[in-house]
Symmetry: C2
DNA sequence: CCCGGCTTGTGAATCCGTGCACAAGGGACC
DNA sequence: GGTCCCTTGTGCACGGATTCACAAGCCGGG
């Protein structure tokens, strides 16, 4: 389930805040979901709650981590040392959450060799060596859209089996490779869709009073 | 539907490549989804296809844009001018896709005043002025996790009605405000979940042959 | 003008995720 | 030891999304 990481995040926060026991109701509140859903999700891990009491936070964290495969670190390699690649590589939260940057590669000669967040940018030809020497399983694509498929192919050829793609391109990979895509523009467009629906709703209600006047006018 | 932006993206690419007509089958191929789903999604916009021929790319792009509310630009304001905020503000693809950066704000005095991607960083106290003078409807949160809720409150107070949150924190807002969250760690954890399942599967099959030996050992 | 082939649009069956409601069970207090 | 209260775990019903399959419809060629 895609909600487990969210639970993990908030449980970790609660644990740091000194909370040792928590009910499904409280988790639901913090995760902004239904309490029954929380219990269903957690029961999927096994019956680790105590009726009448709730869940032991520390134990639950461990169980979720086990389920997600977070019992050890997963090294990550970033392809593309541009704007985004640098932000990602320089972002400390990566390693803190169990995903240290094992390497970052690029094709551009002026990028190769520079130091980002303590990691040196290498040429993409070194990808296979990096992946295999560091036992990297996850690759992150931060190249321009047209290069994304090439990057994916290179990652797969190097032995990576999971890919996180930030480029606005749908990439394909052999069966057995996990791919996830994060597309900024898609997120914004979904928001604008809702904005537009709200604007339309306002307009329809106002229409009866003043036909022709638009709600939130978007004048230049 | 959350798939419309994906269709839009790939249709735009096809249009640029000179394709003027396209079938649901081809769209499905490019979007990596079922063809019937594509037709259902598109029929939701109205009956804009021609039986026996397919869809006219340009017209379809226009219809999807209309549905998504992309007939005009939506200005965006970024809260937090750190690592990520700077990458976002400096990213040209934002404006190209109809979401120009209308402003970027921060609390830190050493950030305020600097120029990023042609936009000057302003103090968060100016948020309301920026939002209202530029008619901004969408806010992007790029602050550290603990400050995310404050940022959201400030955005809502300033009049923003949609929020895209990059911080690993669940934020709450009044009813009627759209919120979307993009959490890097969650994406990586989902990938690691699949990795781990693959590793387990390998281990189970190997177990019969060599009990005790682990598949992809994560030593040190 | 008619016919055959191709693609859309959509009814219907199905599947999956969600949420309700409640029985089962554990703990604390008496 | 008993009882009461609180919370978990889950059977069940519901709704939306997905997929199949096919009739309807358009176009080009004969
Ligand atoms: N910058 C952002 O905030 C942001 C936000 C969302 C999405 N994106 C997406 O992320 C991707 C990268 O954005 P960016 O702003 O960092 O772009 P960028 O142009 O700054 O960086 C791209 C980097 O990729 C390298 N590159 C090009 N082809 C390559 C290849 N075949 N193999 C390896 N490296 C290659 C380039 O040398 C460059 O360094 C784009 O697809 C963009 O749409 C960026
Ligand atoms: N950098 C990345 O690649 C990356 C990737 C994924 C997620 N994130 C998330 O994005 C957020 C920002 O990451 P970052 O690397 O840019 O961090 P950062 O520390 O570089 O930048 C945070 C910025 O927010 C500002 N800030 C703090 N409190 C604020 C407030 N109340 N109002 C306005 N501004 C405030 C700070 O002054 C700072 O400039 C974090 O939550 C992080 O988890 C970052």
């Amino acid at each position: 389930m895609a909600r487990l990481p969210v639970y993990l995040q908030l449980l970790s926060e609660q644990f740091d805040a000194g909370v040792s026991n928590i009910s499904s109701e409280e988790i639901a509140e913090l995760a902004a979901v239904n309490a029954a859903k929380v219990r269903k999700d957690l029961s999927y891990l096994g019956s680790y709650g105590t009726r009448g009491v709730g869940y032991e936070v520390e134990f639950l964290i461990f169980q979720i981590k086990r389920e997600l495969g977070l019992t050890h670190d997963w090294h990550v390699v970033i392809v593309g040392a541009g704007n985004l690649g640098q932000a990602l590589a320089g972002y400390g939260g990566f390693g803190e959450r169990g995903f240290p940057v094992g390497g970052i590669v690029d094709v551009a000669d002026d990028k190769v060799g520079s130091l980002i967040g303590g990691v040196r940018v290498r040429h993409i030809d070194d990808l296979q060596h990096i992946v295999q020497s560091q036992n990297v399983a996850i690759g992150v694509i931060a190249t321009p859209g047209p290069a994304a498929q090439d990057a994916a192919d290179a990652l797969v050829a190097a032995g990576v089996t999971s890919i996180l793609n930030f480029a606005p391109t749908i990439i394909s990979a052999p069966h057995g490779i996990s791919i996830r895509k994060v597309d900024l523009a898609v997120e914004l467009q979904i928001l604008s869709y809702h904005e537009q629906r709200r604007a339309n709703a306002r307009q329809s209600t106002a229409l009866k009073a003043v036909p022709g006047a638009s709600g939130r006018g978007a004048s230049a």
